[in-house]
């Protein structure tokens, strides 16, 4: 089929009545959950995952995807007006977004962020349209060693490019890999860490893990901490949203660079929109002619991360759909939808299910246009949502977590797992361990082990197989370089912070 045929097929699927409706539901709920602090994309998707049992797989994907990229639009609203990231990927937006709204320029920030998000999303969609089929074709020749190498690269990238300590991220990856081994072994059916509990034979449910680690732990941590401050309601008026010529002039560069940075980190397994947002913020700050304005309401610092996280949201579908390797936990949920309907993810997916793949891609355009409409003329609605105090919000969220989890398998054991991982996530927050790498490890762990064991069988235990094959060797060298770089960076960073501590001590002494 030619390229134009594929686009036409995709449009016909995406514009069907049901798919349009669920695309709207997805982006609407995405914006809603994005605005509310404490529920990120992942918790929102896990909450609505049970709904997808009742839908066609394509429709289910379109809706979940809408939630996924919709939260990025909504997350920026809370970040700018409240100084609270509505979702993790908007954390970088608070640095300059909140100062802007303190200066009465919140409306302009909201406007530019929405435009930036649309630009970033568009670049991401175009890249996905062009590259996914090519990558999938290329990947048809991949065997276990290549897949193993890609997964290793993803795991290392996830922990190497992080805001916190790389050692802690690595340790959380390993913990995630270990949690992923729980259940019956896939080749020998030997139980691993099930402690005789039958419910654990299939391992932990991804949704339970996600809701515990992100939903429940966030509630535990936030009660008593989050106080809703005054919200500048006038920021939501049209008249307050008109950017000056100066704002436009300063925003083109960040939008352009943010789109590419975001697309790159989105497409790389293990990294995603949050990392893309932080990196593009750092890049803008470094190349800016007036870095001292950053943190005090520089428009570049608002536009860049929001453009980047939306671009990353779209391109993260590339490894997921073209290789069947989920780059993040949210993408694993997407693949979960496919597998539930008996569709095998992998490079053959695009040719075997063209309607599904191209319909999904085309729905991204519809979704992004809907999001611009939802986020500019209807911004007042979301601002009102922000005024709901946290002490009313968190019991409601908790109730939805309980019922949502109960409905997945209709059993109470999953709820205890949610509670357990909620406690784990809370303790991790208190001791400053990052949760996202744990989830990435959990998602990629079974794949990693499967491909490693298969490679070892293939090579009769000779690990040279990973460097004798050109593709896997290239990827392995990249992983190694990334690992060395991250160790070097963290050593340099800790030395620098210790020196500055000593200097501070000297000054005080």
């Amino acid at each position: 089929m030619s390229f134009a045929d594929n686009i036409a097929l995709g449009l016909s699927v995406a514009f069907s009545g049901t798919n349009l409706l669920y695309c709207f539901i997805g982006v609407f709920l995405g914006t809603l959950f994005g605005v509310i602090p404490g529920i990120g994309a992942l918790s929102a998707m896990s909450l609505l995952f049970p709904l997808t049992f009742y839908l066609e797989p394509t429709t289910a994907l379109i809706m979940l995807a809408g939630i996924w990229y919709g939260t990025a639009y909504g997350g920026s609203t809370a970040a700018i007006l409240l100084n609270l990231p509505g979702s993790a990927s908007s954390a970088a937006t608070t640095f300059d977004g909140y100062p802007m709204s303190r200066q009465g320029r919140g409306g302009i920030a909201l406007m530019m962020v929405t435009i930036g998000s649309f630009v970033g999303g568009s670049v991401g969609i175009i890249l996905m349209t062009v590259f996914s089929p090519a990558i999938a074709k290329f990947a048809l020749s991949f065997q276990s060693p290549e897949y193993f190498a890609i997964i290793v690269l993803g795991l290392i990238a996830c922990s190497a490019i992080t805001e916190g300590s790389a050692t802690k991220s690595f340790s959380m990856i390993i913990l995630g890999l270990l949690i992923g081994t729980v259940g019956l072994d896939m080749y020998t059916a030997v139980p691993r860490f099930t402690f005789g509990i039958v419910h654990l034979d299939d391992g932990f449910a991804l949704t339970a893990l996600a809701m515990g680690l992100f939903g429940v732990s966030e509630i535990l941590y936030s009660i008593g901490r989050v106080d809703i401050k005054a919200v500048d309601k006038s920021a939501a008026k049209w008249s307050a949203m008109r950017p000056t010529r100066e704002d436009w002039r300063r925003s083109w560069g960040p939008m352009f660079r943010g789109s590419w940075i975001g697309s790159f980190f989105g497409a790389m397994p293990g990294t995603g929109p949050s990392i893309a947002a932080f990196v593009s913020y750092a890049v803008e700050k470094r190349i800016s002619r007036h870095p001292e304005q950053f943190g005090k309401g520089a428009i570049e610092g608002v536009v860049a991360p929001e453009t980047a996280n939306n671009a990353a949201d779209q391109t993260s579908f590339i490894p997921t759909m073209a290789l069947g390797v989920p780059g993040s936990a949210s993408m694993a949920l997407m693949l979960g939808v496919l597998m539930m309907h008996g569709i095998m993810p992998g490079p053959q997916l695009i040719t075997e299910q063209p309607g599904m793949f191209w319909g999904l891609v085309m729905s991204f355009w519809i979704g992004n246009v809907l999001l611009v409409i939802l986020n500019l003329p209807m911004i007042g609605l979301w601002v009102r949502m922000l005024l709901v105090p946290y002490h009313i919000l968190y019991p409601i969220v908790l109730i939805f977590i309980c019922i949502g989890m109960f409905t997945v398998n209709n059993n109470v054991f999953d709820l205890w797992i949610v509670a357990g991982f909620g406690i784990l996530g809370y303790v991790m927050k208190l001791t400053d361990f990052p949760a996202p790498p744990l989830l990435v490890g959990f998602v990629l762990g079974p794949l990693l082990e499967e491909h490693f064991r298969r490679s070892m069988l293939l090579a009769r235990g000779n690990p040279e197989i990973f460097i004798n094959r050109p593709i896997s060797a290239t990827i392995m060298v990249c992983s190694l370089l990334l690992f060395v770089w991250s160790v070097y960076a963290s050593v340099r960073h800790s030395r620098k912070s210790r020196m500055s501590q000593q200097e501070a001590a000297l000054e005080q002494g």
Partner: protein, 149 residues
């Protein structure tokens, strides 16, 4: 500041303990196999050691650079985790409305900021909404009320 309340010492120490347990447990209960024919225990066994190693690095780093661990809020813990457990016990025998009410009551005990009017409004609105969304909308087999006797 004492090492025992240092954030990374506690965290790293926990990882060392966990890693050692995992390695020992997988060595005892699962066949390790050989590298060309890996058994189910090999991966957890090696990961356990890796985890121990990283835990040691993190704990060692805390000796020079101590950061006070954040306070564990017992009240939040009891209320939120308790709410989930109670929901899991109440939902099946008594139905959705009592379970939702239990979560609402327990969860709001963590932070007594809700006014009476807000509380009563939620008490009525939430079970109704959940019933409409999940039982009617999605066909989840969980009735609003159930009488077990």
């Amino acid at each position: 500041m004492s090492l025992w309340t240092s954030r990374d010492f506690v965290g790293g120490g926990a990882l060392i303990g966990l890693g050692l347990f995992v390695s020992a447990y997988s060595y005892q209960t699962m066949p390790l196999g050989t590298i060309s024919r890996m058994g189910p225990g090999l991966m957890p066994f090696s990961l356990g050691w890796l985890l121990t190693g990283f835990g040691a690095i993190i704990a060692a780093g805390s000796i020079a650079n101590r950061v006070q661990i954040e306070k564990f809020e017992w009240r939040n813990f009891l209320c939120v985790v308790g709410a989930i457990i109670v929901f899991s016990l109440v939902a099946r025998p008594l139905g959705m409305a009592p379970a939702v009410a239990c979560v609402l009551v327990l969860a709001s005990l963590a932070e007594l900021k809700m006014t009476k009017v807000q509380f009563l409004a939620l008490l009525v609105a939430l079970p109704t909404l959940c019933y409409l969304a999940f039982s009617v909308g999605l066909g989840v087999p969980l009735p609003l009320f159930k009488w077990p006797f």
